[in-house]
């Protein structure tokens, strides 16, 4: 039941009828940072859009709130050989228009994702998320095979990023139509998309229930779900406190106490998938010297920043991987906060009187960057912060161009929780996210080897070895992995945040 105060006033004053419908409907409203850029599951690269789309479309595989991967539209999923995977689909999965999903739809979905120009002449921006997927073939009405061009062991961890569309529907409305119309197989149907304002969905009564492995298996609990777009954090928090929404994403750390102490609201949190670090320019003085890089790692007092600014809601990391990631090495040496050692290392490297450095940061991280600079300044560095508009700064640190700047407070997120999505792009020589200019032949060899290694134990060991080298060479200042924080109505049940960052409200309800 959700009737706003102001319409009560209106009704009271003018003795008018109550709102049309919904007076008894169970409904959950989400205050969300950004609108979806499209509702077409294959035509975006945005986790924000995916978070909305996932309520209306399901995938072959899905992750639960512990980040484990389960078959969703699939009944089973198995690897036949190094390059072949077989999917058995559930029978009786219906699209919102009542038609049944078959292998035809799945093949159509994956062809549309992978084939050049398959989306009305354009190519899906999600194509490379499927790596070397070459051919999707139908075995029978409910069985398909995925064939890769070469071994790519991360494939099962990448499949949860894709959702299955209806072939007949796409052929009817075209790629243009699919941007704003939905005929999905997820727990909610699209009612109305008010662009820039909200997305309204209602329960799909014939929903098959969702992943067998993720209990409970059932149709959605609530009648209606609304994603309401509120970009400004302070306003989003205000909307939660005012009872206008039941759940908000990106709750700012400093508002936690307010939300916790407010009767009727609570804080939900989970370990995120975005690693924070400071990129050091490994190609130029002073950071081309490993001693200076180590000094920088000893100079930053990570713990006090985590405790005081991040409210203790982050774990320090000594490499680039999340502790939840595949191939994480838990035994890496720790760079303790040690100003003396930092000064000594700087002196050894030829900077006995300290060294001037500039720390670049995006405007939204102003506080953290300033705190880091202050911390370095008591350990022999003279660091100054320079703020930039995000994409201009990234262009200055373009991996393909010569590097001229010194330090960059940066991060990399990888929802796949696999080194292939973060270790490889950030630290392999000349990789597309390697902005520090770090290059180590042994690390490259291990990463390339692991990328195609079918034996998961061997693969994990290769990543662990590579982490030891990277930790010792300190191409970055290793910082932390923050928790994702959500604010919620205290009566909200049946939904827990996951590192995936997806708000799928299939099982959620208000007590």
């Amino acid at each position: 039941m959700k009737v706003s105060h102001y319409s009560f006033i209106a009704a009271g004053v003018f003795l008018l009828a109550l709102p049309l419908n919904g007076a008894t409907a169970a409904e959950i409203r989400v205050g969300y940072t950004q609108d979806a850029s499209t509702l077409d599951p294959a035509n975006h690269r945005s986790r924000i859009s995916e978070g909305i789309i996932r309520n209306m479309y399901d995938g072959i595989l899905a992750r639960d709130d512990q980040m484990l991967v389960w078959p969703e539209l699939a009944e089973s999923f198995e690897q036949l050989d190094e390059v072949t995977y077989e999917v058995k689909l559930r029978e009786g999965v219906l699209f919102h228009d009542g038609t049944e999903m078959t292998a035809e739809d799945v093949k159509f979905t994956f062809d549309r994702l992978t084939k050049e120009g398959a989306m009305g002449g354009e190519t899906s921006p999600r194509q490379s998320l499927l790596g070397p997927l070459e051919e999707t073939s139908i075995i029978d009405a409910y069985t398909l095979r995925f064939k890769l061009a070469n071994a790519w062991p991360v494939f099962p961890r990448m499949l949860p990023f894709q959702e299955v569309v209806s072939k007949a529907f796409v052929e009817k409305v075209g790629t243009e139509g699919l941007a704003t119309q939905v005929n999905g197989n997820g727990p909610f149907k699209l009612v109305e998309w008010r662009q820039g304002d909200s997305i309204i969905m209602e329960r799909f009564d014939d929903y098959y229930g969702g992943a067998e492995g993720i209990a409970p298996v059932q149709a959605a609990q609530v009648d209606r779900v609304i994603f309401k777009i509120i970009p400004e954090s302070a306003s989003r928090v205000a909307a939660l406190l005012a009872g206008e929404v039941d759940l908000i994403n990106e709750l700012p750390v400093h508002a936690m106490a307010r939300v916790e102490n407010n009767p009727g609201t609570k804080v939900l949190k989970t370990l995120g998938t975005r690693s924070f670090f400071i990129l050091l320019n490994n190609t130029q003085p002073p950071f081309d010297d490993v001693r200076v890089r180590k000094a920088a790692n000893h100079a930053v007092d990570r713990q006090i920043i985590i405790d005081r600014i991040l409210n203790g809601l982050a774990v320090p990391i000594n490499g680039i991987l999340s502790p939840q990631s595949f191939g994480y090495n838990p035994d890496l040496p720790v760079y303790s906060h040690d100003p003396e050692k930092a000064r000594q290392l700087l002196a050894e490297a030829g900077y006995p009187d300290g060294v001037d450095v500039v720390l670049d940061a995006e405007t939204e991280f102003k506080d953290l960057a300033e705190a880091i600079a202050a911390s370095m300044n008591s350990s022999g560095f003279r660091a100054k912060v320079r703020l930039w508009e995000r994409n201009a700064l990234r262009a200055h640190w373009d991996p393909k161009k010569p590097k001229e700047r010194e330090m960059y407070f940066s991060s990399w997120g990888s929802g796949a929780l696999d080194p292939a999505g973060i270790f490889m792009p950030v630290l392999r020589s000349d990789a597309r996210g390697n902005r520090s200019g770090y290059s180590n032949a042994e690390v490259d060899r291990l990463l390339d080897g692991a990328n195609a290694e079918p034996d998961q134990d061997v693969r994990s060991q290769m990543y662990q070895d590579a982490q030891v080298i990277v930790n010792d060479e300190a191409p970055l200042i290793f910082l932390w992995l923050p928790q994702d924080i959500y604010g919620a109505n205290s009566r909200l049940q049946g939904w827990m945040p996951s590192g995936r960052g997806i708000i799928k409200l299939h099982d959620a309800y208000l007590e």
């Binding site: 302070a234 400093h254 102003k366 912060v385 703020l387 508009e389």
Partner: protein
Amino acid sequence: MTSAPGLPATSAESDRSILADNLREFRENSLAVAAAGVVAVFALLAAFAPWIAPHDPYETDLFRRLLPPAWEQGGDWAFLLGCDALGRDVLSRLIFGSRVSIAVGLAVILIATTIGTLAGLAAGYLRGIPDAIISRLCDILLGFPYLIFAIGLIAMTGPGFQNIILALAYKEWVLPCRVVRGETLAAREMEYIEAARALGASRLHVMLREILPNILSPVIVVATFRMAHIIIVEASLSFLGIGIQPPVASWGSMVSDGREFLLDAWWVSTFPGVAILLLVLAINVASQGLRDAFDPRLQR
């Protein structure tokens, strides 16, 4: 202000006595005088910031994070107005911030008024092609949405003091330009201008020495009004994340940084907000007083 030999001295002299009248009328407006006093106090704060501020405005201490003002529970009298998110003294940052806000306001207005006045004189006096070019340029700049240009410019060049001034000044000159053009069009038909021309004064001389002094009042009034506006707009740039570089703070960036804490640590953004309000209020009241006193069309 002396007039060239052989030219009638009327304009400069009558100008001086009008100025004296104007100033007298301004002085009689007690509210405006009080406002001018407030502006002076802020200017002094800015000038002597290092001696007045109780703390180093850049010194961070995370153990003082979001310390409340002295009179609130948990406050500390050493930090009268509390501390910000990095434990810096809000009062000291306010005092130092006045430098940035006033400097930005002054710089933008000086640049814009100078360019605008010259362009307006040229357009209004020369007319013809210069006028057409300047007018179309004004149209282009006014038709180009201001924040889009500012964001674009700063994304292009990176945030920084000069770039912010540039982003604020690029079209600010259009307003004085339009005012001056209109006044010049009227002034060029006046007798004393015709006389100066008849006596063979150069165009430059007529524009700068004869016309300019007589149309300065509205220019000054517009400039003071707009300076207040500039200080506000600088705050908007900070809101959009393209404001001044740390560790320096302007009042605008302090309000903007602190807005996130409005519910939990109101002092971080409220005090700079009040400071902006006071200064802008004072500048506006003073300039309204100026306008009432100076605008020739309002003379009895």
